[in-house]
């Protein structure tokens, strides 16, 4: 009587059958076509835990996730950031089309608090995505707890952990290592639902890079008391060191100048005219 056991096995969510490519599982596009093609669900899975393994915090994980978060922001639901390593910077988030009033940042002091807060957020059905930063520890049971909470809340649970944990097993549904090799972001999928894993792709997460022009070391601003200062041509109109005499006089004379802005790119001085009133 083997048939009941097989049907029991098939009910298990973790069992994948090659015959039926299951498209019922919900996923949202990562925003990177190349990555979508490699993922069997063509996106970040909903109601499950995705794990990003990073060599360093700030290697590009926000840029990788921001298309997902921006899209989730268009619908109701908060995005909860649990225990981020640094302060998220509002102007950058706005640049990446995230809505600030939908971001909730939770500060925690212990791992238990982090897990508890993340669990609450995931199970609440009011948080569409929960980003959790975890310390460099093996946390199998805790991650299982989180994956149950994410399933209950149908949210996108994203764990951010250190790369050294890639060899440890984890109950997360999707596991991706994010690295940088020769100025290229390299993604290795070490576990993913719906099919084989082991894909490797390289992504350009910072396409604006081509607009940046590297500076030679001799133009870097330095301060050395003995030697004359080495400066870039732009440094000439530094308002601190050498203010042009006429600008100084202008500031002294005029009371209606509330602000003088030195626009470095145009090398001109813009004055902000305000109606004449006593400067207090």
């Amino acid at each position: 009587m083997s048939s009941p056991t097989i049907s029991q096995l098939l009910q298990n969510d973790g069992i994948w059958q090659a015959s039926q490519k299951n498209n019922l599982r919900l996923a949202m596009s990562t925003g990177y076509a190349e990555l979508d093609r490699q993922l069997h669900y063509s996106g970040w899975p909903q109601g499950a835990i995705s794990e990003l393994l990073l060599s360093h915090n700030g290697i590009g994980e926000i840029r990788l996730l921001s298309p997902l978060l921006a899209r989730l922001n268009q619908k109701p639901g908060y995005i909860t950031w649990v225990n981020p390593p640094y302060l998220p910077y509002a102007p950058a988030l706005v640049n990446q089309r995230l809505k600030l009033d939908k971001q909730v940042i939770v500060k925690t002091s212990t791992v238990q608090e982090t897990i508890w807060a993340a669990q609450q957020a995931m199970a609440s059905t009011a948080s569409s995505a929960v980003l959790v930063w975890l310390p460099k520890k093996v946390l199998g049971n805790e991650i299982r707890k989180l994956s149950l909470a994410a399933k209950a809340g149908k949210c996108w649970g994203i764990l951010l952990r250190h790369q050294s944990l890639s060899q440890q097993s984890s109950p997360a549904t999707l596991r991706v290592i994010l690295q940088v090799r020769q100025q290229k972001h390299l993604l290795s999928i070490i576990k993913q639902p719906g099919g084989w894993s082991g894909q490797q792709i390289s992504l350009e997460l910072f396409p604006e890079r081509i607009n940046w022009n590297p500076f030679d070391v001799k133009y870097w601003p330095v301060f050395s008391p003995e030697k004359p200062q080495v400066r870039t041509p732009q440094m000439e109109i530094s308002p601190t060191a050498k203010q042009p005499q006429w600008l100084f006089e202008l500031q002294q004379k005029s009371m209606c100048f509330s602000e003088a802005i030195i626009d470095k790119s145009q090398r001109t001085i813009r004055s902000v005219d305000r109606p004449k009133q006593p400067y207090h």
Binding site: G58, I62, N95, K107
Partner: protein, 506 residues
């Protein structure tokens, strides 16, 4: 037309309500004789006590001779008044004209509510349903004047309902007068002395009294009786002070038996929160802070605030959050009283709900944030706000209040456009996703920038200067690539001549 609600056992029921439910269930199976005393005289007694022979205005000593197992409680007038106010608030949903009378009677003007409730029968049945939930005993009656409704409430409801003509939806006056005149005179709400005077001339029923000419009534029994009769028969106006729901919520419960455990506080907490929710619903308001005070027998007070960010009225959430807060405190002495105050109230932002449930969408509720704040402290959750400041660390700030974004987005479409314009300006300039709380110093040895490895500048500079009139800030910002591939946002402070690391370009 008036509806009167007489609460004969109010003094007793108010006191028994603060007893936890478990004990109450126990007593309800075999009702114990109970009575309330005022000035050492029996003021109010329950059915079981009356069966034993207890009467109103008996002394305590004679009450104990009739029944030695009787439970006596001291009357608590302020709590009674609170209970009456609560009921008035409840009746406020039936009519805007509710008056609280002496002797625990509530009068409701219902003639204008009949159409809303599709007739008297519906109104009475829904009123009964509401009152039954309050676990109080009450008697109803209708009448054409406040006084007539009041006096008829001594009789069963059917007695006064006979005067109501269902088809035409009005009172039959001849029938009403007939029924009023059948009532005994001692039911009149006048001084006992006047009643004795009336009885002394042989008038037993109201009808016999009203047969007398009005002038002689005034002459014999005085102004009080004549005015009462005129008001009873609608010949003299009888204005009432209508109940106005208070602006703020303040309720206090005192316990007959002190409470020793936190678990025991749950019942009074639930009761107060239920009253609060009703209050908020009637006022269409929303509160953000519940202030609880616990008074123990050593005259100590424990006070704490429960913050609520949710925009909906939800008693279960309030109870849960209060419990979470309560866990922080240890009770040193038994608790004698508990009070709940809610002062700051906001207009309720009624939200549109989907007619058909959309399962795919997330809820815009802040319940989980409240929970996290209750356990980890109020400053554990925050949101970000962008400010139009030139200095990078000032352009982003933390706000502790969590906005309920769902309606804000629809409210300010202009702002969104503005923000988007800002983006297009700012977009050219790189901004890091992560900002360090405090910039960290980087070493520079004339050739390399050193910070846990080597940094190489990969972008052109962006100069940020500001506040020259206050405390001057002048910095050159660069993007620098670390050995390990991370891109950092570094700056050279032109005033301090020092390199700093300020953010991570993630």
């Amino acid at each position: 037309m008036w509806l009167s609600i007489r609460l004969p056992l109010l003094p007793l029921e108010t006191l028994c309500k603060s007893v936890p439910l478990s004990e109450k269930n126990h007593t309800s199976q075999t009702q114990k004789p109970q009575a309330v005393i005022e000035d050492n005289l029996i003021f109010c007694a329950n059915q079981a006590a009356c069966e034993k022979g207890i009467k109103i205005s008996q002394t305590i000593a004679s009450a104990f001779t009739f029944c030695d197992s009787i439970q006596l409680f001291e009357r608590n007038q302020s709590q009674e008044q609170q209970q009456l106010n609560n009921l008035a608030l409840l009746l406020y949903s039936f009519s805007p004209s509710v008056a609280i009378e002496e002797n625990a009677i509530l009068l409701v003007e219902i003639v204008h509510s009949l159409k809303l409730f599709h007739g008297l029968e519906n109104l009475l049945s829904s009123l009964k349903e509401t009152l039954d939930k309050e676990s109080i005993s009450y008697r109803l009656a209708i009448g054409h004047t406040p006084k007539s409704a009041e006096i008829l409430s001594f009789m069963p409801l059917d007695y006064s309902l006979k005067v109501w003509q269902n088809k035409q939806q009005k009172i039959v006056f001849s029938e009403l007068e007939q029924r009023l005149s059948d009532l005994p005179v001692e039911l009149m709400n006048i001084s006992p002395k006047a009643i004795a005077q009336i009885q002394s001339i042989g008038a037993k029923k109201l009808g016999e009294l009203t047969k007398l000419p009005e002038k002689s009534i005034r002459k014999r029994f005085g102004e009080e009786v004549s005015h009462y009769l005129l008001k009873l028969y609608n010949k003299l106006p009888d204005p009432k002070d209508y109940f106005i729901p208070p602006e703020n919520f303040l309720q206090r419960l005192e316990f007959i038996d002190v409470i020793h455990h936190r678990q025991g506080l749950l019942f009074p907490i639930k009761r107060l929160i239920k009253d609060l929710c009703r209050f908020l619903t009637v006022k269409q308001k929303n509160c953000q802070c519940l202030h609880w005070e616990l008074f123990d027998s050593e005259k100590n007070m424990i006070g704490f605030d429960v913050l609520i960010a949710d925009s909906r009225i939800n008693d279960k959430v309030y109870v849960e959050l209060t419990q979470l807060h309560l866990e922080h405190y240890t009770l040193h002495a038994p608790i004698e009283a508990i009070s709940l105050t809610v002062n700051k109230m906001h207009e309720l932002n009624a939200q549109n709900k989907q007619l058909f449930e959309d399962s795919g969408d997330f809820k815009q509720t802040t319940t989980f944030i409240n929970k996290i704040q209750a356990k980890l402290g109020n400053d554990s959750c925050y949101q970000l706000q962008q400010k139009s400041e030139h200095i990078p660390e000032l352009a982003s700030c933390q706000v502790a209040e969590i906005s309920n974004a769902s309606y804000q987005v629809e409210k300010i479409p202009n702002n969104i456009e503005k923000v988007q314009n800002n983006i297009s300006i700012e977009n050219n300039l790189p901004r890091p996703s992560w900002l360090l709380e405090k910039p960290e110093k980087i070493r520079f040895n004339q050739r390399k920038l050193l910070w846990h490895g080597e940094l190489k500048i990969i972008s052109s500079q962006e100069r940020i200067t500001n506040y020259w009139w206050k405390k001057k800030v002048a910095r050159d910002y660069f993007l620098a690539e670390h050995d390990n591939g991370t891109i950092y946002w570094v700056f050279y402070d032109l005033l301090r001549k020092q390199w700093f690391l300020h953010g991570v370009y993630s």
